[in-house]
């Protein structure tokens, strides 16, 4: 694949920005990644993004590695490496320096306010991921049922999601979804 330097630069800038914005975890960045990759840059379709997200969740390893898949899909191996580095680099620096300072302000009111104040925002971002993915994935009654059943099992039981993915994959292969 012949990749232009401009495309790699765009990837580096987009994912570098996301690295700063992904409060509460890598998954918080997914809605913005989707907006960029599908709606703004037109790197892939809705379906392809949902596929890559699904693969990153089902595969072993930390699931923020969706960035690697999106980078690869967009610009080959160099794209995968650039996207992964851009996503990890900036936040690593912040984590390193904040971790050193943070312990000193233990018990300070502003520290508590920032820490607790970010929680509802990051939960809202995760809710957005669920909404965006469900909109693409739930195109049939069976699919909606699978989504609701998995959500119920996740909330109410300790069944490993991998079993649920396996069942869903079999149903899909059988052509029922």
């Amino acid at each position: 694949m012949n990749v232009s330097a401009g495309l790699l630069l765009t990837l580096a800038i987009q994912f570098g920005m996301l690295s700063f914005l992904a409060i509460g975890g890598g998954i918080s960045a997914v809605p913005e990644m989707h907006r960029q990759a599908v709606e703004v840059q037109h790197w892939m379709t809705d379906r392809q993004f949902a596929d890559l997200f699904t693969i990153s969740q089902a595969a072993p390893g930390p699931n923020f590695l969706l960035v690697t898949l999106v980078g690869y899909f967009t610009a080959g191996i160099s794209g995968a490496l650039v996207a992964t580095l851009a996503m990890c680099g900036p936040s690593c620096f912040i984590a390193y320096f904040v971790a050193k300072a943070w312990d000193r302000f233990k018990g300070a009111r502003w520290r508590e306010a920032i820490q607790s104040g970010m929680v509802p925002v990051s939960i809202g971002l995760i809710g957005s991921v669920a909404f965006i993915l469900a909109r693409t994935a739930d195109t049939s009654a069976v699919a909606i049922g699978l989504t609701l059943a998995t959500a119920y099992m996740t909330l109410m039981t300790k069944v490993s999601p991998l079993w649920l993915f396996a069942v869903a994959g079999i149903l899909g292969f059988a052509g029922w979804v």
């Binding site: 700063f20 809605p31 089902a58 607790s116 809710g127 994935a137 699978l146 989504t147 119920y152």
Partner: protein, 180 residues
Amino acid sequence: MPWSRRMLVDIRKWMTAEEYNEAFALCQFLPGPNIINLSIVFGARVRGAAGATAAVVALVAPPTVLMIVIGVIYAHYGDAEALQRILAGVSAAVAGLILGMFGMMLKPLLRGNWLRPVAIVAIVVVAIAIFRIPMIWTLAVMCPVSIAFVWHALGRAGEVQNLKKPGLERGPDPDQGGAS
């Protein structure tokens, strides 16, 4: 994430449960992938910058290679009809998993003074998922508002109890928070 706890706290005993919870709470709100932040915080504590670098590289490099291999396979066979059918099923289940995680994280917010945090969650979902407002603008507005709410609540709690005991709201339980 639950794995990291088992490894660091239960098996290797590199951290006490309390240290882990403290580090986890910090990583919860720092930007970037939690698991990476955790390894930085941990690596830095043990061996400074070199420890932090080693921890991150060891954590990220192998799965990155795996992801590239998967990416190659998807690029070749992504359009294959059978794979599309399987992915359609698994996508629906993954959507459910994220929805379930969302519910799990929402639960602790429903205790006590729930109205404001739940309103923040709802506004973020509507802004990001429905109106597709760029994340940076949503955060620029909602983070300060949410922080101000907590600041205010902490102040009131302090006056009432005449104590400066913080910790009104807690983040999601480290054992349950599935987002890594």
